[in-house]
């Protein structure tokens, strides 16, 4: 039960210590690559860049990524590796998918096994997963170099090369081999057709023949390592890591969890190593660790240790007074009768939407971790989590820096940190300082801008969609849960996470699909835009902030300096995160998962 999350946290932390040392060594350019690799570095090097040039290079490269992604997806019908002859995705879905993979979100409005050929899986999915993860990591490196007040920030393209080739590819290869041994397919073939053992049980086709089972295979073992390591989350199959081919055993489930936690854990420590402030990094690490443990415990407690409330008894008759214009006294009583329980043994917790082979608490544990590190893979159906347990993944996305995604999680934490120090400085009446530099109006402004993008991009569109047909017609579950579905989708888009409450009708499919989800176009466009805004502003603004801060004069450490490596500082950081995120998101949490938990179950229908 608790062994799985505990072993994951401990194992990843232990491995992150040497791994972060390796990463700092690579990013500091201390690795002396063999000659032929240095040729590539020289080929890519455009010289030292200042922060504006570095950011410009990053943005230009992302535009190229967008164009490349678009081309690959548009070419699907005529490209090779497509024996099933899958057609062209709808234009809005292509826009959404390109934005999604470019921004490291991997929100999938298409269904991998139904809509994407091996061509797309290899040239679109794998490529974006390697490269978009590296972009975030480079952004964090640039910020660190600003804080070190370096002459120039290095070169974006060389950094990208180092991250992809010296970090991601070797680790992905090792994990890929382990995955292969456990049963992940790795073939350029597309499908197997079989008559099952009891052939008639598959049903019959129109001409009376027994239906065959079509098994989709493909280069799964190549996609999944980088899907997890890059905290991407976009799977080969529609149901992602729940599908047996994508996650064949308890051991691969452990490895996938480990894979998505590894680099986010490392980056915090890499930050400390590169700034030579390890104690400070460990304080940040501990705050994140406690938050992550909290989300895991919450999810496991309410989902694995509690039964699905839809099937249990609710022995008390409830009466609610609701306002009604037509009723006498303006109040109408709604009576909800007591409900008897169904005879289902739920000692393994809520099993709806869960797989059995991963272990008892694996679904809830995975759900919490995948949002904390903004991976977005899922090994269970988040829509079917117990209502209050589903609060855990939502909180993970709202805070968005419980380790967080590649680089951007640590960047988000720096924003909270700057705000926290600023508030603390105001309270004691001293000039706030970070790393010995005074935090001025410009830095706080930039931090607040970057921080506010996230709630604006979640709450604004959620409100709009909840009030219109765009949202209402896409909901698949009643009442409060329907609102949760909308909020979850935008939270996932804005946090660049990519998991979803899958019942929401957002899939258009191929462009000639006669029966697409009715509001799929609106969802494609809205979440696509949200992903783009919520990715680049919170990358560029913090780089600008770090540049403004980093090149200030360093004041010597004195009696009045706020120490950034103490327990007190950890509490300050923890408090800032909880209070700021709480103020922003408590109301919507109350309307969604909390209301569903307290409200009548089952509801209507």
């Amino acid at each position: 039960m608790w062994l799985l999350p505990i072993s994951l946290l401990v194992f990843t932390t232990l491995l992150a210590i040497p791994m972060s040392r390796y990463m700092a060594w690579i990013m500091d350019g201390k690795y002396n690559a063999p000659g032929f690799l240095r040729w590539f570095e020289r080929r890519l090097d455009s010289g030292g860049q200042n922060w504006k040039q570095y950011a410009a290079a990053l943005l230009i490269f992302n535009i190229i990524m967008f164009i490349y992604g678009y081309l690959v997806l548009i070419l699907q019908p005529i490209a090779p590796l497509n024996p099933r002859g899958l057609g062209l995705l709808s234009p809005t879905t292509i826009f959404n998918s390109v934005a999604s993979f470019m921004t490291n979100t991997n929100l999938q409005h298409y269904s991998g096994d139904q809509h994407m050929s091996n061509w797309g899986q290899i040239f679109f999915v794998i490529w974006n997963q390697f490269v978009s993860a590296a972009v975030g990591l480079c952004a964090l490196t640039a910020i660190i170099r600003c804080f070190r007040a370096e002459q120039h920030l290095g070169n974006f393209f060389v950094d990208m090369w180092r991250v992809v080739v010296y970090m991601f590819v070797p680790v992905a290869l090792v994990i890929g081999i382990l995955f292969l041994q456990q049963g992940m397919p790795m073939t350029y073939q597309s499908t197997h057709e079989v008559s099952t053992l009891e052939a008639a049980a598959m049903g019959t086709t129109d001409n009376g023949q027994a239906k065959q089972q079509t098994l989709v295979v493909g280069p799964v073992a190549a996609v999944i390592p980088i899907k997890m390591l890059g905290t991407n989350g976009g799977g080969v199959y529609g149901m992602n890591s729940a599908v047996p081919f994508e996650n064949p055993s308890a051991w691969t489930n452990f490895l996938t969890c480990f894979g998505m936690m590894l680099f986010p854990f490392c980056l915090v420590l890499m930050y400390g190593r590169m700034l030579k402030k390890m104690r400070h990094a460990w304080v940040i690490f501990s705050v994140m660790f406690i938050l992550m443990a909290g989300t895991i415990v919450w999810a496991v407690y309410y989902d694995t240790l509690k039964p699905n409330p839809g099937l249990t008894a609710h022995p008390n008759t409830q009466t609610f007074q609701i306002p009604s214009a037509s009723a006498p006294g303006g109040q109408r009583a709604v009576v909800l009768p007591a409900v008897a329980g169904l005879p289902v043994d739920q000692h393994l917790g809520n099993l709806e939407g869960k797989e059995l082979r991963f272990g008892t608490s694996a679904g809830a544990t995975f759900a919490a971790i995948t949002v904390d590190v903004t991976c977005g893979a899922a090994n269970c159906e988040h829509d079917s989590l117990n209502p209050i347990a589903a609060l855990s993944p939502m909180v993970g996305m709202w805070i968005n820096c419980i380790y967080g995604g590649k680089g951007v999680g640590m960047i988000n934490l720096l924003l909270f940190l700057i705000i926290g120090i600023f508030l603390a400085g105001m309270m004691v009446g001293r000039t706030p300082e970070y790393l010995g530099r005074k935090i001025g109006a410009r830095e706080v402004k930039l931090a607040v801008i970057a921080l506010l993008v996230h709630p604006l991009m979640i709450l604004g569109p959620s409100g709009l969609f909840a009030a219109t047909d765009w949202g209402v017609k896409a909901e698949s579950n009643p009442a409060a849960h329907g609102l949760s579905q909308i909020v979850y989708q935008f939270s996932s888009a804005s946090a660049n996470n990519g998991s979803a409450f899958d019942g929401l009708g957002v899939t258009y499919g191929f462009y000639n699909n006669p029966n697409p989800a009715p509001e799929a176009k609106a969802w494609d466009i809205a979440t696509g835009l949200v992903m783009i805004f919520s990715r680049y502003l919170p990358i560029v603004a913090p780089i600008a902030m770090a540049a403004a801060l980093g090149y200030k004069k360093q004041t010597p450490f004195g009696l009045g300096t706020l120490r950034d490596d103490t327990f007190t500082f950890g509490c300050l950081l923890f408090g800032t995160i909880i209070i700021v995120a709480g103020l922003l998101f408590l109301p919507v949490a109350a309307l969604g998962p909390v209301a569903e938990h307290l409200g009548p179950i089952p509801f209507g229908g």
């Binding site: 269904s111 590819v169 199959y237 047996p244 699905n308 509801f603």
Partner: protein, 337 residues
């Protein structure tokens, strides 16, 4: 600026070669060389030497001789994985589970311990009274409109039956159209609730269900009002349960009535397998004309030999792979009758 575009294109080119050509090719070579079984989808062969499926992917079994996998929201379609995506608060979930439970639930204690509740549901249904009010079917359709509509749309024969009813009850339908001006041309599904309300009045204690009769040597299936059968046991188990909250029932293993995340979960829990063991064993005993106790013993052994637990038992309870066990049964006992 122009320089950044050139460098971007160079990096694009290098990274596509490395990430999309070299990296998957290395894994492909390793997979096909050292793990060919896994790398090609863990396909297993059936008794005739042809592939019958993947050990990793669930496939449907309906015969009593076989262990049955968890219900699938994807209809076991391994090219379109899918979960139910039903929230706990969604009545559709509770209804789906109750429908699955009705025909299989047994009493746990009392004079009928060990017996199915199904016959009692039928007796209660025929009395046509729920919560002290008459007309069970009408109350059912009123409380769960979408499920009543689901009954109509779920089967072409059902909607044809409702259409035929609407034609012969034009007066009732035209009155309904007057009350619901938004739907001037109601389809069968729109009339579902109205249909069941009237049906309940016309045939108290009955439910429309498919009946197969033999006429002139030909079997003909038609929808008729029936007073017993699995439709009644399924659809009205939840209401029966509300009227009999005190009845002590045997719990059914949770994984037997819940759908998995992918719809393709190849395993069931050991409890689920044990729950199905009596049915499987008695059927094989009947097919092979062997001693039931001995057959049960043999199948129990097969189950124990194939059981495994996630991560050697550290992370979870014992499960069995359904296809693996059924292949063993097939090998051991031959083809089912």
């Amino acid at each position: 600026m122009k320089q950044y575009i050139t460098k971007s294109l160079w990096f694009l080119f290098f990274s596509v070669v490395i990430c999309c050509l070299i990296y998957p090719a290395i894994l492909w070579a390793i997979g096909q060389t050292f793990f060919p079984f896994q790398a090609n989808g863990s396909m297993v062969n059936g008794p005739d030497g042809k592939a019958v499926g993947s050990l990793l992917v669930a496939q449907p079994f309906t015969k009593d001789e076989y262990f049955q996998p968890r219900p699938s929201a994807a209809s076991y379609d391994a090219s379109a994985s899918s979960s139910s995506a039903l929230a706990a608060s969604n009545y559709t979930l509770r209804n789906r589970v109750a429908t699955a439970l009705g025909p299989i639930v047994k009493y746990k204690s009392g004079p009928k311990a060990g017996q199915l509740v199904g016959p009692d549901i039928e007796v209660w249904f025929q009395k046509d009274s729920f919560g002290g009010q008459p007309h069970i079917v009408a109350q059912w359709a009123d409380a769960h409109n979408s499920i009543a509509q689901g009954w109509v749309t779920g089967d072409p024969a059902h909607s044809a039956y409702v259409d035929a009813w609407a034609k012969s009850h034009a007066d009732i339908v035209s009155k309904w159209v007057k009350d619901n001006p938004g739907t001037p041309q109601p389809k069968a599904a729109d009339l579902a609730v109205l249909f069941f309300e009237n049906f309940s009045r016309d045939y108290p204690g009955r439910f429309p269900s498919a009946v197969t009769e033999t006429k002139n040597g030909k079997s003909v299936t038609s929808i008729q009002p029936v007073k017993e059968g699995s439709d009644i046991q399924s659809n009205f188990f939840d209401m029966w349960r509300q009227d009999h909250a005190e009845a002590d029932l045997q719990d059914v293993p949770g994984d037997m009535v819940t759908t998995s995340g992918s719809g393709l979960d190849p395993d069931i829990t050991m409890e689920n397998a044990e729950y199905q063991l009596d049915r499987v064993a008695s059927k094989w005993a009947q097919d092979t004309k062997q001693d039931p106790a001995k057959v049960r013993q043999q199948i129990e052994t097969i189950l124990q030999q194939n059981a495994f637990a996630p991560f050697g038992g550290l992370f979870g309870e014992k499960i069995v792979n359904v296809l693996e066990v059924n292949l063993e049964l097939r090998k051991h006992f031959g083809a089912p009758a």
